[in-house]
Amino acid sequence: MAEARSTKKGAARAATLYQPLEGRGAGDGRSVEEIRAAALEAFERLELPTWRRSGFWTTSLRELDPEALEPKHVEPGEIPAVVGEALGDERPAGLLVQRGATVVHAELDPEAAAQGVVFSSLEDAIRTHPDLVREHFMKRLPYDTHKLDAAAAAFWTGGAFLHVPDGVVVERPFQIAYVIDEAGTAQYAHTLVVGGANCDFRVREYDLAGDFTGPALHAGHFECYLGDGARARIAHLQDWGSDGQEVFDVSTHFTRVGRDGHATWIPIHLGGRMTRQHIELSTAEPGADMRHRGIYFTEEEEHLDLFTVDLHEVGNTTGDTVWKGAATGASRASYEGLIKIVPNAQESHTYLQTHSMMLSPRAKVDAIPSLIVETDSVSASHGGTVGEVDETQVFYMRSRGLTRHEAVRVIVEGYFEPVVVQLDDPGLEGLVRERIARKLAAAEEDIQAYAAAK
């Protein structure tokens, strides 16, 4: 594992591709509709993007035909089966389901409602809580980074809004599900979460595909603003299916942690034809602390391009990032993880590590941890490993009677397990374990071929 410690000004990022958002945001007191109009103008001006890292990595949307996609408006009411399967039996504090372009279900536990919690579609919240929405909407998200960014800001419908007021503690999770269940769907999603001072809550966003064959697009924004002393546990499960669904997902997620506040953020990427995701976590005021854990597992022809940012905007902030991934089939996965510490953010302490496991001779994995430190007196270190299944471990388990396949499954599950348990949600943990086991079973031939090739 490579490690770098920096105590002086400097910047080194030769192989990196992406830029942090930092302070760039559209929100400057404009109304949602004014931002929408500006985003539409940007959409018409911008071309579909291609992202190229010198020589060895390209994320391209050339296989995406925007003309063949459109928002699908459906009748509200019915919750798609895929949501029930993924969410399990746990009773949430609130559940909101958007199918295609339409929010088909929104419910809030009366107890939470009595505490002043607001949980509704974003469209509804613009009417019911105009000031809250206007204050926060796209405050730290731009709408013109690229064409699909602009499309999401211009064309979003439905959406989700959660406001947990000052001092309110909600144990059970708020669940938000975006479902695509029809080929040709363009889904533009927007989730806005606002946590008041000293509140404490959990929110989970699920991206799920129903039974269909063919292309679809999900372009989304997620933004979460936490006040002083606020604590949030955020999980994000992306599973766009691997049974003929060809979902392109280009999304940007941002969370801001306030003074002496804390966020745990756990994105899980389990499938999608092509995913390009920007995940940025800002510790924005002294005492802010974040813990970021992530998982990806790519298979077949999937292409995953992840960029995460651990942004320290002031001093006396702490962060800790660990990403773990595995790749089978002919899939491509890239993880670029940036720690950025801005000028005058002294006494920031943070660590980032990324691990990848290759399970196929045809898979390709990149791991690019990077650092930009523009001040002194900080500790920031990063490291990355790309590994394979350890044959010593495999033989050990086979000598106890397990087959090779069982041994590999134990190793891969054990590799992910330290992150999975941090979801702290038996239903979601079970779902992730079950999906990983299914992917391993499907990739059995590749795994064998890889072992034989060595």
Partner: protein, 218 residues
């Protein structure tokens, strides 16, 4: 027994089918069955066990869960909770490890002594017909050594398990009484005898054997 590099661990790994070793000559026969080409898991099913000199760590799976999986490979139906609990209680009692030990990840962050105990715990749970113990006594303090030896003796007594004990040191033989002693040198078994062979080794080292073998080869 045999000096460093004489092939003891190679033999142990080959018996269990380690993929790094290829059998170019000879056969591994076990109860009339030829296991020379068998997969390691099939050898385990046939009743062979290896207590590793350097056991691999498997992060993310607890000792107890791993034991359950390994036991289930021997059965048609998964072992039920009650039976598993009783077996585990018996084995942990035998080896003087507390139950909390079995909830730790397999060999992950274990001390040398804990790894060796964990190997013998697995042996006690899986009840092999023959266990190969590859330098299980190395790096153990005297109490741990006694516990491990007691485990081997109990299993031998209770289940009739045979044990092939690979060791550098005579001291384990104060607690486990060998019926046969084989001396390996340069990949061959060059002397066989009873416990008296150990006494002679303790007094004179390997040089006399080397000389005798050399004289024969010359």
């Amino acid at each position: 027994m045999g000096p460093n590099g004489s092939g003891k661990s190679t033999l142990a790994n080959t018996i269990l089918g380690h993929p790094a070793y290829e059998v170019t000559e000879g056969q591994i026969l076990w109860r009339g069955e030829d296991l020379t080409e068998a997969d390691p898991e099939d050898r385990a099913q046939a009743g062979l066990f290896l207590a590793f000199q350097y056991p691999a760590a498997i992060p993310g799976v607890s000792v107890a869960n791993f034991l359950r999986m390994a036991l289930n490979t021997q059965r048609e139906e998964p072992i039920n909770v009650k039976e598993f609990g009783a077996k585990l209680k018996h084995a942990t009692g035998l080896l003087h490890v507390d139950r909390e030990f079995t909830s730790r990840h397999l060999n992950d962050g274990f001390s040398g002594g804990e790894k060796k105990r964990c190997e013998i715990l697995q042996m006690a749970m899986l009840e092999p017909k023959v266990a190969v113990l590859d330098e299980t006594d190395s790096g153990l303090d005297i109490d741990a050594l006694r516990t491990v030896a007691e485990g081997v003796n109990t299993l031998h007594r209770e289940t009739g398990m045979g044990a092939l004990v690979i060791t550098h040191y005579q001291r384990i033989l104060h607690y486990v009484e060998p019926q046969f002693v084989h001396i390996m040198l340069d990949g061959r078994i060059v002397r066989e005898g009873g416990p008296e062979l150990v006494t002679q080794l303790e007094a004179e080292g390997y040089d006399w054997i080397r000389e005798e073998v050399g004289a024969l080869d010359g």
